[in-house]
């Protein structure tokens, strides 16, 4: 008994604790910076009262400044809207294409799959230059649609392939049973296969959403009005002034920009993890 408990500590609790600390420490660091009054920032490294890990006079000043002096809530909403829309589009495309590539037999299937994948390999660093041309031709400049339509270029390939992977792990028999029961191919796809693939859909969605949420260069190039900007671009262009960073506000922006998403994710993660255990294989 004692031996078992000892084992559980070594193989489970300690590694998990290390993971938690390692993953969350930078996050904690951002939080403490956001609450730290400025004078502590300018304290010497060797100062006796240097307390990097906590602060004795936590302040909300940075959050107030962020909300009062920038259009942060607006950026948050823009980012959210753009991320949701582009993720929606990408999942829709990816779901259908992934199913077709995983399940259906048709000429050129392999080539098409590879083709979709290959677009993901296109290095984005300089892609924004020709892309700016397209945005201009479609007259999308300085609208959220410039981003909603360009983000899928790197999201669709990923969603397609990840979902394809999940579809392949679902036994064909399930679908065949449904078809014997009279379901159409399309109906079987919608009502049998897609629900089973929900964990995959969610993880593709999380990935896509996060990539859109983080994207910087397209958002920088294609949007120009201050009130249309996204969180990363807005924060960087307002809170880094020449050679001075507004550290507290930068980190406050990072926190406020990620906590709502974390809450939404916590719901999804739990949903797909508990709801489907053991329902597929076997």
């Amino acid at each position: 008994m004692i031996e078992q408990r000892w084992k559980k500590w070594v193989y489970f609790y300690i590694p998990l604790a290390v993971f938690i600390v390692g993953t969350l420490f930078p996050f904690y660091w951002m939080a403490i910076t956001a609450f730290r009054p400025d004078e502590e920032l300018y304290r010497s490294w060797r100062a006796v009262n240097n307390t990097p890990f906590w602060t004795l006079q936590p302040t909300l000043a940075h959050f107030q400044d962020l909300l009062a002096k920038t259009t942060f809530p607006r950026w948050l909403w823009n980012t959210f809207f753009i991320a949701v829309a582009s993720t929606g589009i990408s999942l829709f495309c990816g779901l259908l294409a992934g199913y077709a590539l995983a399940r259906l037999k048709f000429p050129m299937a392999g080539a098409l799959g590879t083709g979709i994948f290959v677009t993901y390999l296109v290095p984005p660093t300089l892609l924004f230059i020709p892309l700016a041309d397209i945005i201009r031709n479609f007259r999308l400049g300085n609208t959220p649609w410039a981003l909603i339509l360009t983000y899928p270029t790197f999201l669709v390939p990923f969603c397609t392939w990840l979902l394809m992977g999940y579809f392949k792990t679902i036994p064909r028999e399930l679908e065949e049973c449904a078809r014997i029961d009279g379901a159409t191919r399309f109906g079987a796809m919608l009502r049998i296969i897609f629900p089973i693939a929900v964990p995959g859909i969610l993880s593709a969605g999380i990935f896509a959403f996060t990539l859109s949420w983080n994207e910087f260069i397209y958002a920088l190039i294609f949007l120009s009005s201050p009130e249309r900007k996204t969180v990363p671009v807005g924060v960087v262009s307002e809170l880094i002034r020449g050679d001075i960073y507004f550290w507290g506000q930068l980190m406050a922006g990072a926190l406020l920009g990620s906590v709502p998403v974390a809450l939404v994710y916590s719901f999804f993660v739990e949903y797909y993890v508990t709801g489907l255990t053991g329902s597929v294989k076997g």
Binding site: F12, L16, F19, G22, T23, P26, F27, W29, M30, T33, W45, A83, V84, G88, I89, L91, F92, L96, A100, L104, F106, Y120, L121, V122, P123, T125, L126, L127, I129, I134, P152, T153, V156, L162, M164, G165, K168, T169, R185, P199, I201, S203, G205, W213, N214, I217, V231, P232, V235, V236, L250, M251, A254, S258, S266, E270, Y272, V273, G278, K281
Partner: protein, 322 residues
């Protein structure tokens, strides 16, 4: 957002279900079309293909053209063949950049995979506070890269590093460690930051994969007296393989063409020791205006990534064959 799509799909489904079944009416003909695999495939693939060809085909062709031309910003170039590639290949900064990129990608991906897998296995067990732990593990992935990298840069700050402070106070070091100011250290720091950022996604995706594995299989293996490692290797791993491969390949692509992280953390310095292909291409293309050379350097990624994808495809097909 997934729900949103599912709802869309759901309403389509109802519509379809509501159709009368006898094969006489018009809609039924459409339904019969959908029974045709080729036609269905065509319909299903259309949105993705249209979107990608509108928004990526032209930029891609343009990118290839740029790499083969002497274009610089505002000056239309002429076709110069592979001269840009040759020039880059002989450039000592490029050579260093290429080496950095391989080192960076290899180690970061390896760390992300092993740690991500480990974390997924841990999170797959039942424990108190499971829900909150699982959600919080995703945090590094959610914070905009630009901002979290600023935080990391501060933690590695040559003067104020909190890590140095801890080690110093703990009596482990006498002088500050040169986290970002020594070339070799700086590259490893970048690898650590990348791992920190990317690992949660590995963990959560693999966790989703683990959920689809029937616990009975494990139980059976346990009854057979298999150890934990044995069970992982012979039961879990084979079933996780397809998903793992997809995630690894995408991670390789992402890491290989990483830009933001390096741009913010070191700008490629000190003395180019952390430059990656993407940051160097950006520097040449955007800061120096040499669009042709910049495009050539970013396209150096392409063949490498193609090889990776090819290996993956072969491997996936073999798995299916088995």
């Amino acid at each position: 957002m997934a729900n949103h799509v599912l709802e869309d799909a759901g309403s389509a489904a109802q519509l379809e279900v509501a159709l009368p079944h006898p094969a006489t009416s018009k809609p039924a003909r459409f339904e019969r079309f959908l029974e045709n695999e080729r036609f269905l495939a065509f319909i299903l693939l259309a949105p993705a293909v249209i979107l990608l060809s509108v928004f990526i085909a032209y930029p891609f062709v343009m990118g290839v053209w740029l790499s083969l031309s002497s274009t610089s910003v505002g000056i239309p170039g002429q076709f110069v063949g592979i001269r840009n590639f040759v020039k880059a290949w002989n450039d000592s900064i490029f050579q260093q950049t290429l080496r950095n990129t391989f080192v960076y990608t290899f180690w970061a991906t390896l760390f992300k995979l092993t740690l991500g897998m480990w974390l997924a296995l841990l999170l797959n067990r039942h424990f108190r506070g499971k829900r909150i732990v699982r959600a919080s593990m995703l945090l590094p992935f959610i914070i905009p890269t630009v901002l979290s990298t600023f935080a990391w840069r501060w933690m590695f700050d040559p003067t104020f590093s909190v890590l140095n402070w801890v080690l110093y106070r703990g009596g482990f070091i006498m002088t500050k460690l040169p986290f970002l100011s020594d070339g070799a250290w700086a590259l490893w720091c970048a690898i650590i930051v990348n791992t920190w950022r990317g690992m949660p996604f590995f963990a959560i995706t693999l966790l989703a994969g683990l959920q689809t594995i029937n616990p009975d299989l494990h139980e059976a293996a346990s009854l057979d007296g298999a150890g934990a490692w044995h069970r992982f290797w012979h039961v879990t791993w084979p079933l996780l393989k397809p998903v793992t491969i997809v995630v690894v390949v995408f991670s390789i692509i992402q890491t290989f063409s990483d830009f933001q992280l390096i741009y913010v953390l070191t700008g490629g310095g000190p003395a180019n020791s952390t430059h990656l292909l993407a940051t160097y291409a950006y520097q040449l293309g955007v800061a120096a205006g040499l669009l042709g050379e910049g495009a050539a350097i970013s396209l150096f990624m392409f063949p490498v990534l193609l090889v990776v994808v090819w290996i993956q495809l072969r491997y996936l097909r073999r798995l299916e064959g088995v």
